[in-house]
Amino acid sequence: MKPENPILTMLSLAAGLLFLAPVLYSVWMSFQTADAFYAGRVSFTLDNYERAITQFSFARYLINSLIVSGLVTVLGITVATLAAFAFARFRFPGGDLMFGATVATLMIPSHISLIPNYLTLAKAGLLDTYAGLILPAISNGFAAFFLRQYIRGIPKALDEAAYMDGATHLQVLWRIIVPLSKPAISSMALYIFITEWNNYIWPLVAVGKQDLYTLQIGLARLYRINPGEGLIDWPLVMAASTITILPVLVGFLAVERHLVRGITMGAVK
């Protein structure tokens, strides 16, 4: 390792703080009373968290977000892994066309599918349900593409050795490909989870019942609730924001090592 350069270290620290500053400021703000905040005083309280959870149903929204993002992640990564395995390892009629179509979905802005998805789910009677929130998100072209590229890097001889050992296609996938693709799968799972966690438009369109609101919808609605005199209760909003950020942060820390490996895969042999 190169000896540390103090100037570079200082610059890195400054850059890190610059990125962190808004987050730290919002967390700090979330522990202030609204009166003290607007009066420019400092007064520590946990009241904003208590109000967000009890008065404004953020516990419910948190559970909804965990259910929706969790299931979208599990189902999405399962579908993407199965598709990636098929695209990477099998030649079948129309396979190239299907892969091309999967890649082409990456070029379509997601908002274009908003109305068709809404109409389809309305016809199926799935609006205002968890299924309505989850189903449209489980097919993820980018994850399928990314995992296919990763699986293609795994020597095919390993699959063949497993087939010779007596494995079926699904056993090869589950016992050989999936364990060896852990970095890529973890990266994609986190990517899908964060994307779904931050999803705002679709839950806004697909759900009207407050019981099914996700954190993002709940957060957006907090802006409209005035503590009086038309002022936004920023400390309350920041407490809700912190509740929203926390699970993603924990998730990121859990798979960070895999994530970095997944993203830099193939950089060196």
Partner: protein, 343 residues
Amino acid sequence: MSGIALRNIRKAYPGGPTVLHDVSMEFHPGEFIVIVGPSGCGKSTLLRLIAGLERADAGEIEIAGIRANDLAPQDRDIAMIFQNYALYPHMSVRENIAFGLELRGMPKAERNRRAEEVARMLQLEPYLERKPGALSGGQRQRVAMGRAMARNTSTFLMDEPLSNLDNALRVAMRTEIKDLHRQLGATIVYVTHDQTEALSLADRVAVMKDGHLQQFDRPEVIYDRPANRFVAGFLGVPPINFVAADKLPGWQGMQGLTAGLRPDILTVHAQAPKGPSLPVRLVMSEMTGSDLLLHCDSPAGRLTAIAPRRDLQGGTESLWISYDLDRALFFDNQNGERVELTR
């Protein structure tokens, strides 16, 4: 034990040339078969067809008397050792060896016992809990063999299993594989491009070139009576010398033949010998231990001969080479086939 029959096997890859042309062979139960040939001759493809990893475009594959063309690899009850070993990197040596048994539903205690038994045979016991990444090339090769052996199958396919090892290890492993064959009594189909492996291991050798089977016989027959010029040239170290027969002094036979003179039928002389011989100029000599490998230019062309080192102490460049025409091989110049001369 199961024999294997291949009948008129043809295989071409999509958009590529035909890699196997009507190849037919029959392997008896318990035989050690070596398929040998240069790169691209179709030997590995043939092995993959037997394994079920590729499908033949035409022809019949029969394993233990049953048509196997449409059987999946897992239904053929064949074990295979791959050139790069293909060990599962995320599993320990024990798990690698026992994986096939697990897939066949063997209880954990029993498969562990079997893995340990195999590991003992292959001297892998100290490494059972290690991952393949922490093993040397030779140890990985043994694990690959152990994985195949654990399953107690009667047919083993080996795709150049020693090609990634250094020379000393290769020689040692060759002996072990031969020993193993004796112990297991299984049918082994072994692919290599190394002719020493072919001749030393096989009960019968199949020599292939450009997807065609050139000759399939016992190693002694392949060496002593090669079917054609290619087989004669491919097997034998140092390689056989080819010269026009009519340029050899003493030759009184038919025209249009090429003589194949293996270095062991040539004798090097410092003085002109009595019988038929060629005057040669020494171009290069290589020390191989007690012998010298001599590359010489003669009026008939370049010749390679072996001579004991002590016989050539003088350092002269002008030598004579005599030959035993009764032991020479002759090939038709037109089609390269060996010609049996009656003398």
